[in-house]
């Protein structure tokens, strides 16, 4: 398996959507390719970091104001 072929399966591997045979092929490639090991681990870490950090929060006071505005408008429909 080449690095390009590995990369084509990267998302399915991360999302756990690969067959047992494909997983074995991917693991075999990883055992001899440090570059793809790094790509896999840092891509996973990228996803984990973005999940963990809430970048755009809605403060409670603003949230309540917006909810009220939405429901007031709905009641007028």
């Amino acid at each position: 398996m080449t690095c390009s072929e590995f990369l084509a399966q990267l998302d399915d591997l991360i999302d756990d959507h690969v067959t047992a045979t494909m997983r074995a092929d991917l693991e075999e490639h990883l055992s001899g390719c440090d570059h793809c090991v790094v790509t896999l681990s840092t891509t996973r870490k990228t996803i984990e970091i973005y999940r963990k950090h809430e970048l755009y929060t809605l403060p409670d006071t603003m949230r309540e104001r917006l909810q009220k505005a939405i429901l007031d408008r709905c009641k007028k429909c």
Binding site: L7, L13, I47, Y56, I70
Partner: protein, 213 residues
Amino acid sequence: MSTIQTQGTEEVQPEEVHPDVALVNRAREGDTAAYEKLVRQYDRQIFRIAQHITQNREDAEDVMQDAFLKAYEKLDQFQGNSKFYTWLVRIAVNESLMRLRKRRTGKMVSIDEDVETEEGSMPRDLADWSPDPEAQYGQSEMADILRKTIQGLPPGFRVVFVLRDVDGLSTEETAESLGLSIPAVKSRLLRARLQLRERLSRYFRKNGKDGAK
């Protein structure tokens, strides 16, 4: 090799009735308290999606209001063969793109914009990251890095990444929300993940900060 993560939400089988459907049915009959529950359940996610697309807080507030209002007005059109949330996201994405278009004085803006770039199709930065990259930065500095990095992606990549990896929608739900094919979602997700990884490497690689800020 470490364990492989499982992502995405559980798929709802066609014969199962999603709890939101009962709330939608009550709201259709004029029960605003039922609709209020739906608003409270999804407002944060809708705000986040709108902010990621528009990159403007005021616009995101307006989009959130308009999306929930439009959804309420169109409840009769909700078929129930998709999740209410997926249907709501589609409305919010369209509203967000309209806002973006207004900001750009009428220039066409679509979810397909700038997706033809070749960037990110092959990793270039192959340096490993430090074991705990987040420890190098304070909380607000970290948030600035993540915001700046994701804002650099084309909108069509950004929104796919947010829906799939942050919101946890399945590939099928993401495709339905954005009106894209499943292969298009998969292609964009891979490139979004790789581009973000590449850009974050400048901050998180071993040997510390390299002045990429």
